[in-house]
């Protein structure tokens, strides 16, 4: 080899290395996201949605040396629920209402911002929330509050295509981070408080063309339609024999995917109307269920309904966490799930078979399960409290599963109850279709109730209304291994790492590093505003970083050098 050819080869190798650094995010990379922990390629960290990273630079021993490396301030007020993606040193994240920001993951300096102009008629129940992005190739995908799906060039921030997912004037929206599976972008629709008929839909990643759609409320002649029963002769006048048309079943948190089974799993939200269940006789499938769909066709493979005929707004939109565990001595491809209804579940994710059901907080809406996992419901008398309350024992915020500890970690609201009361409500397009007058269960009449969505700087409801905790549960049994109590409730997601460090926030504005094995506090920082999203971790130039979003601030921490 000549000196010139050696130089040329070196140049080519350099170029190849450089290319590798900026390589496209292929479907193969997504399927193997766990093998490149320096990046965070999918909303929940990987298709199994474990929010678990193999990075080990930050350990229980050195977590006390964490320090702030950089901050990014969003300009728009309101809860910031997004999970960033990190791809080869570039961070992509959404901010209210539907902006996308690309920035240097090492310094926080911005490359570009894309701003989607929302249709002013967009209708959302609970704030201008967006939970993040998906990526495939060099294209980012974002769902919008006005129910569109937009493909965006990851290098320039320019839109590539923009397709309609649903009718925003009827209350449809997309607030979740899309999930890319092979050549498709999968999203679900929000709007469970507006009498929508929910669905999960897949779009061709190149063109934006809809490929398949699975309605979470089955129509006539479809399996499950008989769970929407006709009104009996003695029914109340507001009973609706066509309730399925406005049956809810929103899908507002990202699902999971098992490449080996080619099944994609999605949690389905509450039935509509939320609280007056007498208007919709029957179990109301597939509300409050998990559905397993063929990723190529959207066909239903199996379902499990957590809360049949829900009268409590117990959305089952929690992230389906996939884990290969040993259950009663047998290896099982499992799905582990802490539900808003206060129960922890283990299901066989190949078949949907019910394996475990066990309360992780106080529960009095049901008492036992039959062998198929159907709960025996114990509706409380009028005026009496139901545990857990309307916001649930947990909610949309991401749990974590650590294969290293075998524990499942969840943010829980403890000792929290609501006095439910259903009232008749007539469906009107685009109008709230809640059908309830609920009250916080309060220790002192007239005392401030626990705010469902936001808190101010003063905790004036205190421990008397509810408290929060991170619970570590045995993923195979639901047995509590440890509990990290908080004075206020927590809406924060959870991250664990192979070094057995657990990161989480809370409404009080603290960002914690906790020993994932024991539940002891390793380090904390007071960030000043509630943390309502999930932390992620990534690596740039050999240094591990961890994120926390508090109020309007994205804070990124690393070890002191």
């Amino acid at each position: 080899m000549t000196r010139r050819s050696t130089a040329t080869l070196a140049l080519l190798l350099t170029a190849a290395a450089s290319f590798r650094v900026h390589a496209q995010v292929t479907a193969d990379r997504l399927a193997n996201a766990a093998r490149e922990p320096r990046n965070w390629l999918i909303y929940s960290g990987g298709y199994f949605s474990n929010r678990y990273s193999a990075l080990t630079q930050i350990t229980p021993a050195n977590a006390k040396n964490l320090e702030l490396k950089w901050m990014y301030q969003a300009a728009v007020a309101g809860g910031w629920q997004t999970t960033p993606l990190v791809v080869d040193g570039v961070m992509y994240l959404t901010q209210r209402p539907n902006d996308v920001v690309a920035l240097d993951a090492k310094t926080g300096r911005v490359f570009w911002i894309y701003r989607h102009q929302l249709d002013p008629t967009q209708i959302v129940c609970c704030g201008s929330n967006n939970r993040g992005l998906a990526i495939l190739g060099d294209t980012l995908y974002m769902g919008t509050l006005d129910a569109r799906l937009i493909a965006i060039d990851a290098r320039s921030g320019r839109p590539i295509w923009n397709t309609k997912v649903g009718d925003n004037t009827a209350g449809y929206s997309v607030t979740l981070a899309p999930l890319v599976v092979k050549d498709k972008v999968i999203v679900g629709v929000g709007g469970g408080e507006y009498g929508i008929r929910g669905y999960v839909a897949a779009y061709d990643a190149r063109s934006g063309r809809e490929v398949w759609r699975f309605y979470t409320i089955p129509g006539p002649n479809e399996a499950g339609f008989d769970s929407w029963k006709a009104c009996p002769p003695d029914a109340k006048p507001y009973c609706d024999s066509e309730a399925w048309k406005h049956g809810g079943g929103s899908v507002w948190v990202t699902g999971s995917y098992d490449p080996a089974l080619n099944q994609t799993y999605w949690g389905v939200g509450n039935a509509g109307p939320d609280w007056n269940a007498d208007q919709r006789p029957g179990d109301n499938l597939y509300t409050d269920s998990v559905v397993a769909l063929d990723a190529d066709t959207g066909r239903l493979k199996w379902h499990y309904q957590f809360t049949p005929h829900d009268r409590y707004d117990y959305d089952s939109v929690q992230v389906p966490v996939l884990a290969d565990i040993t259950w009663r001595g047998t290896p099982v491809k499992a799905m582990v799930w802490a539900n808003r209804n206060g129960n922890f579940y283990v299901l066989d994710r190949e078949t949907g078979r019910f394996l475990v059901g066990k309360p992780f907080v106080k529960v009095n809406w049901m008492d036992t399960f039959d062998e198929r996992g159907r709960p025996h419901q114990t509706v409380q008398p009028a005026g009496q409290p139901t545990w857990p309350g309307n916001q649930g024992g947990t909610n949309w915020y991401s749990p974590s599963y650590s294969p290293h500890t075998g524990l499942f970690y969840v943010s829980a609201w403890e000792n929290y109850a609501t006095i439910f009361g259903g009232t008749p409500v007539e469906y009107q397009e685009g109008r709230n279709f809640g059908g309830g007058q609920n009250r916080n269960y309060l220790p002192v009449p007239g005392a401030p109730g626990l705010p469902g969505l936001r808190r101010g700087p003063i905790n004036n409801w205190t421990e008397a209304a509810a408290t929060g905790a991170v619970l570590a549960l045995d993923a195979a049994t639901g047995e509590q291994k440890w509990r990290y109590p908080m004075t206020d409730v927590t809406d924060s997601g959870i991250l664990t790492t192979a070094a057995d460090v657990l990161f989480t926030g809370g409404r009080e504005g603290y960002f914690h590093a906790i020993d994932a094995r024991t539940g002891s506090l390793l380090w904390k920082a007071s960030l000043g505003a509630q943390i309502v999203s999930g932390p992620i971790t990534y690596e740039v130039d050999g240094k591990q970083y961890v994120t926390a979003i508090s109020g309007l601030s994205l804070c990124v921490f690393g070890l002191r050098e």
């Binding site: 005026g383 009361g421 009232t423 007058q437 609920n438 009250r439 220790p443 002192v444 009449p445 007239g446 005392a447 401030p448 109730g449 700087p457 003063i458 905790n459 004036n460 409801w461 205190t462 421990e463 008397a464 209304a465 109590p485 908080m486 004075t487 206020d488 809370g506 009080e508 603290y510 904390k524």
Partner: protein, 260 residues
């Protein structure tokens, strides 16, 4: 807990602090409305509503407020919404009432047909003020505008925050109305120093309070040997020490405290 002398003095309830009121709670069952709320609401009704609705509630054609059936409202929440927002395209305007006033009006509307307006009286605010500042000794712990102590909750706008019924119960059964945030706390530091105070805010690791010397104190729980939150109000009941008329006078005065 051994009560500090200042805390054991005759003081108005720690319970008297910002809170949502019963009138905003949905669908209270009939009979759940405090006579003091009904009485307070009747006075506001007379002043604000009779021009259109008349003293008997039937002054608007096709509307009879005494019937207990409201065309645009099923629950108390609905009633409050109608009063606060008005009804577009009709003569029903939007009213700006504070929470105590709204609670009173709703209580009165719910009981218009049965309320004996002679039996529940609000009392005289001027006499109530004299009681608060004199015989009741309330300002030894509470504060109204620039007068009094900071040890117990400030009452300067309690009339906009608490319903009449809640205020009366605060005077006769203080612990039942004490807001959880106002609970007295006792902290013992590692060196044995004891801090007694009223809680202002709390999180997992710290607590903020005003101590019995009226100082703002922030404590790290990790520095404490003991930390106790008490559920009994240090305020005495006035059930026997004030006559019924005097209690009504004090409630009338407190309801007049709307802040600045």
């Amino acid at each position: 807990m051994r009560a500090h002398p200042l805390l054991s003095c005759a003081l108005l309830a720690l319970a008297l602090a910002p809170a949502r009121i019963s009138g905003q709670a949905p669908a209270a069952p009939p009979g759940d409305y405090a006579p003091a709320d009904i009485a307070y609401g009747s006075g506001i009704y007379d002043a604000q509503c009779t021009t259109c609705h008349g003293a008997n509630g039937d002054g608007v054609g096709g509307v009879n407020l005494r019937s207990g059936n409201f065309r645009n409202a099923i629950t108390d929440l609905d009633l409050g919404r109608v009063i606060t927002n008005g009804i577009q395209g009709t003569g029903m305007q939007a009213f700006r009432f504070d929470a105590a006033e709204l609670a009173g009006i709703i209580a009165y509307l719910r009981n218009m047909n049965s309320a004996d307006r002679g039996s529940a009286k609000l009392g005289d605010p001027a006499r109530g003020r004299a009681l608060v500042e004199g015989k009741g000794g309330c300002l030894r712990c509470h504060r109204v505008d620039a007068e009094g102590s900071h040890v117990a909750p400030d009452l300067s706008e309690v009339g906009a925050l608490r319903s009449a019924g809640s205020l009366l119960r605060s005077l006769t059964d203080p612990s039942s109305q004490m807001m959880p945030i106002n609970r007295p706390v006792r902290a013992v530091l590692r060196d044995g120093k004891v801090v007694n105070g009223r809680r202002l805010n709390e999180d997992t690791y710290t607590v903020q309070l005003i101590d019995d010397q009226e100082k703002l104190v922030s404590l790290a729980k990790s520095d404490l040997r003991e930390y106790t939150i008490l559920t009994t109000s240090p305020m005495p009941s006035f059930r026997t020490t004030l006559a019924a008329d005097e209690l009504a006078d004090v409630v009338a005065y407190l309801l007049s405290l709307k802040g600045r």
